[in-house]
Symmetry: C2
Subunit: 337 residues, 2 copies
């Protein structure tokens, strides 16, 4: 990895960079790991393959011989002593993403979304103090937006345990930078979709389940449908993560990353049906009360800070992204059920 | 316990109320437990007597035969199944309070300040959904104030892991109220001092160590000294906790509780020396860098919301409080070393 002495004016070259991707069998993590291999990085993937999360060995089929893959828990100190020294960049995409799941099993969410990243930061501080850590957070930390689009000054008011824990983990990264001088960067991602996402149920994202429903000729089950959201195709999100590690950062190390212009969930479902040739149609159901209590309503992102800093912008339209995703699962669906 | 059917217009009578005090061998918790016994409550104290925390069996000497005392970990599900059903009020004063300690051992702080209160809330939700939970939080969640005095609208920007975890625990309480309907109330306490506080070192509060230094004729070691803080005598804090459980609450269930008018730490040290007859004097040292990085500077509280809701106000001046505290430790110091 090449980094000039004056860090403030430099950028990473990925060729030869030693990169650890935590959660690297998951949806975004695996896509990132594959991209890093293509860019010439020396990639190690760690993933616990926790059954409720998004990890799937099929996601790294293309790089199985070009990356080191460890099925292990991030909380294992021996593992980190083995993997961290000498690392240039750690991307942390490990975690539990389910909102409802976090309300049903909050202590498991605590382990996945607080204990694990905190243990990783502690290990970085002691074993690899020169490393750059990029942490994938979520728009969920904002809760129900009081103003749209949402920029980084929006107050944090999470509506579920998952959001509380992701906000705490963000704060860890801020502290490890300010107090310990660790080079941490946090991206608050919006809804990401694409090949590799969990489709067997709605535990990662409702869109995953919709994809499955369309491909199986079943109706899409839509709750409400009026909510407007922005969606990012996974390759755009991966580029954002790479940029987050690459560019020099100033004081504002927690940055939003959005997606394409917002659409309502109903519009999204209709696009998906049109593209997927799904003949199951739409079934609009009343919002289940346990989900309604933690729903955030409309959300879309103001990510002008990140765009200004990096030049990043989404390159894949929602139509293109949905098409690519459907194409992927037409062949690969059995690997994800 | 008497509570009228229309909860919004009622208040607790403590006579016969079944009350659990978590952290009830600690400084504030034990004082609260003693007061509750006096008021006729049926009190159970749970405390893990974690060596780094403030628990001390001497704190409950007066109520040993009138309360149930369990030395146990709050995270033990069997314990909570035993103690919670039928409880009217839970006061949660368990936790790790050290700021520097939280930076040195962040995962232990996570267990004490996130896992334990979350496990307690989960147990309340399932075993005692009618209970009122009063959680003792801290002004540490605000971090370095950007405006003084600090009211509840001040942004949360904790400067240490302890503050991050206390903020997360506050958020749990808010969620369990909004999502699960559990009657939770949170007080953000300022620096509390008085009989029963940890004095063997500065792990609970620097003022504890100062008390010991004065009583042992040693100099008070002062870092900086210009910082202004408000201090609450423990009996005033205990009254605030009782009020927090007693009065009907509206939407604003996270409330500041301050103390007497702010003084600089140097003024505080001088008052303590004058009252204690300490001949060791003052030694002003440079701020140790590990502490300076997490110092919050000036802090004092705007608690007008809480005062308006409850009629509470401090009754013990700093001079009276310091005198009472010194008197206590003149006899009891050996029990706290």
């Amino acid at each position: 990895m090449i980094r000039a002495a004056d860090e403030a004016a430099t950028a990473i070259s990925w060729a030869g960079a030693r990169v650890l991707v935590a959660g690297g069998l998951g949806f975004i993590g695996a896509r990132l790991a594959c991209r890093l291999v293509t860019l010439g990085a020396v990639v190690t993937v760690v993933d616990a393959l926790e059954p409720q999360a998004g990890g799937n060995i099929a996601n790294v089929a293309d790089i199985r011989d070009q990356a080191t893959i460890r099925i292990a828990d991030l909380g294992d100190p021996a593992l980190l002593r083995d993997l961290l020294p000498g690392c240039d960049v750690v991307f942390n995409l490990a975690g539990q993403t389910g909102h409802l799941a976090s309300m049903v099993a909050p202590l498991q969410d605590l382990d996945a979304n607080c204990r694990a990243p905190l243990a990783l930061l502690e290990a970085c501080r002691t074993l690899a103090p020169q490393v750059t850590v990029v942490y994938a957070s979520t728009r969920q930390v904002y809760g129900r937006p009081i103003v749209l689009p949402v920029d980084e000054r929006h107050p944090l008011a999470p509506v579920d345990i998952n959001g509380v824990h992701k906000a705490a983990a963000e704060a860890y990264h801020g502290l490890y930078w300010r107090v310990h001088g660790l080079d941490t960067r946090v991206l608050r991602l919006t809804n990401t979709y694409g090949p590799g996402m969990r489709v067997k149920d709605a535990k990662q994202n409702f869109l995953g389940l919709w994809l499955r429903q369309v491909l199986e000729g079943r109706p899409i089950e839509l709750w409400g449908g009026h909510q407007r959201r922005d969606f990012s195709y996974v390759d755009d999100t991966v580029r954002a993560l790479l940029e987050a590690a690459r560019v020099p950062m100033g004081q504002g190390r927690i940055l939003n990353v959005g997606g394409c212009p917002p659409v309502s969930l109903r519009e999204l479902a209709e696009q998906l049906l049109a593209q997927g040739g799904g003949d199951g149609g739409l079934v609009v159901s009343p919002f289940p009360s346990d989900r309604e209590r933690i729903d955030i309503g409309d959300y879309y992102t103001d990510d002008s800070l990140f765009r200004g800093l990096t030049g990043w912008a989404p390159e894949t339209s929602l139509a293109e992204g949905l098409r690519a995703t459907l194409d992927y699962y037409r062949a690969a669906l059995p690997l994800y059920l």
